[in-house]
């Protein structure tokens, strides 16, 4: 017997058919889209992130759950208007650095952030420094920059971007988080980033903390 509510478990299991059935049933019953998202679906994806960190889930399992989540988001998001609309927790610009084409981990983080209430601008892979800067300039106020690198050689792009953020006069309002397999805390501190997380679920926790700091 699962410890999770049925909808949350269906997200964890990546059972898209069941997720859509339950979401539609909940909407019929009058459950708010915001509640469906934040009380059931997001905890499901956070658990998926934890299972990946524990070595229980791998990329195919994560993609399966992500697909179920996307299917449900397609129903609930358009319903969120007016007072029920998702209040943005913060704004994130995210991308894999120049030269790095790996995106599955980055996509998972982007999805979890979005599902957790962040407004996310995903720039994709092999993102040039200028593209990061332009995206940051386009958003007013506090913004979180998330950079990922999955191979050691592309790590060198991160301090380049950080320097560009400083030279553009944006560092005061941009918080920077970095991630990917070769990223260590030591490296994060060395390049002057504000934080790193070991897995997607922790990345959301970090982003939330940075958004509020």
């Amino acid at each position: 017997m699962s410890d999770f509510p049925e909808l949350t478990q269906a997200v964890i299991d990546g059972n898209i058919k069941k997720v859509l059935e339950i979401v539609n049933a909940e909407i019929e019953k009058g459950t708010s889209p915001q509640s469906i998202l934040s009380d059931y679906m997001i905890p499901g994806m956070l658990e998926v992130g934890s299972l990946m960190a524990e070595g229980e889930y791998f990329i195919p399992e994560v993609l399966r759950s992500a697909k179920a989540m996307k299917g449900a988001l397609a129903i609930v998001e358009p319903m969120m208007t007016g007072s029920d609309s998702m209040q943005s927790v913060g704004h994130v610009v995210i991308g894999a650095v120049d030269g790095d084409i790996h995106d599955i981990g980055k996509n998972l983080v982007a999805m979890l952030l979005k599902g957790s209430g962040f407004e996310v601008n995903d720039l994709g892979v092999s993102v040039k420094t200028e593209a990061f800067i332009d995206a940051l300039k386009a958003k007013k106020g506090r913004v979180i920059l998330g950079m990922s690198a999955l191979i050691t050689p592309t790590l060198d792009e991160m301090p380049v971007v950080i320097k560009a953020v400083e030279e553009a006069g944006l560092r005061d309002r941009v918080k920077i988080m970095v991630g990917g397999a070769p990223v260590t805390q030591e490296f994060t501190d060395e390049i002057g980033a504000d934080g790193t997380a070991e897995d997607a679920a922790s990345a959301v926790t970090l982003a939330t903390r940075l958004a509020q700091s």
Partner: protein, 365 residues
């Protein structure tokens, strides 16, 4: 000892004169010769002369003990089947696949199956024909002195590269596992024929196959389901057709109980002779758990960042520290991490090879 004898000693768990070194991928040899990948290959062409020169120069000047004269390239076969490959410049490991693959939906599968039935590795893809010319050239030049190793992927990795966009294939694993089994079976048969063509062109040593999803991208349970039978089929066929053993390159953390159980099956049930892991497996673990416990030789991996960045003195110190962890060192050879950029200077590779030979003189200190 010559390079061939050195490698043979590792395979037989005897002491070589010094620890042999596995080469880095073709694209590094090209970069160090002043070429970028688009100057050497395109969607339907391959400059065999340039690649031959790069391979021979690398063997001579860097001093690798084994040669993989084919281009470690996961785009082979894709353009004739209807896909488009990408040919990167910066950080480009090899020509690779894009989202325009031969099998975009299941409706494309019957057409591709028919094309695969007629595929001739020596003729259908001009890039593969060029690669075979390189093997012939390198074999003629140095085949007596050095082990020439044929190489291609197997199982799910081979199927994904040949047929499907990456993310779609990973979804297929759950959504249509029977179709995945068809794809991995056909891809493995194709890989076996491609490897055979490389032997016929002049390769003269173990087969090197790679399953890069390993336990990095999929669970050991999925690996056992989809890949174990394919690895066994390839090992058996290479033995039957060419009398050669097979080494497996596999990614992921093999230290967890379930992953190690999978590894054991790869040895005991599939018959793999040796392993080349990635950076998740430290040298002392490999010696203890793979060489001593499973009884098969393996490569130990130097940290990729060290080789990329240097300086040579740091590389030498890292190699020395690594060799100090491996006891008698029998059954082990040195290999580069998959994270090493092709654009890493030869000076760093040379420092790494020389340090391995120097600190890896047997008996190890």
């Amino acid at each position: 000892m010559n390079k061939k004898e050195r490698f043979q000693a590792v395979r037989e768990m005897r002491a070589p004169d010094c620890m042999p070194v596995w080469p880095r991928v073709m694209s590094q040899m090209l970069y160090s010769n002043g070429y970028i990948l688009p100057e050497v290959t395109g969607q339907d062409w391959y400059d065999a002369d340039k690649v031959t020169n790069a391979v021979l120069r690398s063997i001579k000047e860097v001093g690798y003990d084994v040669a993989i004269p084919s281009y470690v390239d996961y785009g082979f076969g894709v353009p004739p089947l209807g896909g488009t490959i990408s040919i990167p410049e910066k950080f480009g490991l090899a020509a690779g696949t894009t989202d325009e693959q031969p099998v975009m939906t299941k409706d494309d599968w019957p057409r591709v199956q028919k094309m695969m039935a007629k595929f001739d590795p020596a003729k259908t893809d001009p890039r593969m024909a060029g690669c075979l010319d390189v093997i012939k050239n390198v074999s003629a030049a140095v085949g007596d002195e050095i082990s020439l190793v044929p190489m291609y992927y197997v199982g799910t990795t081979a199927a994904m590269f040949l047929f499907r966009p990456n993310e779609a294939f990973l979804e297929d694993l759950f959504e249509d596992p029977e179709w995945v089994e068809e794809m991995v079976d056909l891809a493995t048969d194709w890989a076996i024929d491609w490897i055979s063509a490389q032997y016929e062109a002049g390769c003269n040593s173990v087969c090197f196959t790679a399953e890069t999803m390993g336990t990095l991208m999929m669970s050991p349970k999925m690996g056992e389901q989809f890949n174990l039978p394919c690895i066994k089929k390839l090992v058996d066929e290479v033995k039957k057709r060419h009398g050669q053993a097979t080494w497996l390159h596999i990614h992921g953390d093999m230290k967890t109980p379930k992953a190690f159980e999978y590894l054991e099956k790869i040895v005991k049930e599939a018959g793999v002779e040796g392993f080349h892991f990635d950076e998740n497996c430290p040298a002392d673990w490999i010696k203890r758990e793979v060489v001593d416990k499973l009884g098969v030789p393996a490569c130990i991996i130097t940290d990729g960042a060290a080789i990329v960045k240097g300086p040579p003195e740091k590389i030498q110190a890292d190699v020395k520290a690594q060799i100090e962890m491996i006891g008698d060192g029998l059954g082990l050879m040195m290999a580069p991490s998959c994270q090493v950029l092709p654009a890493t200077p030869d000076e760093n590779f040379k420092a790494w090879v020389d340090a391995t030979h120097e600190f890896g003189t047997y008996p190890l200190k």
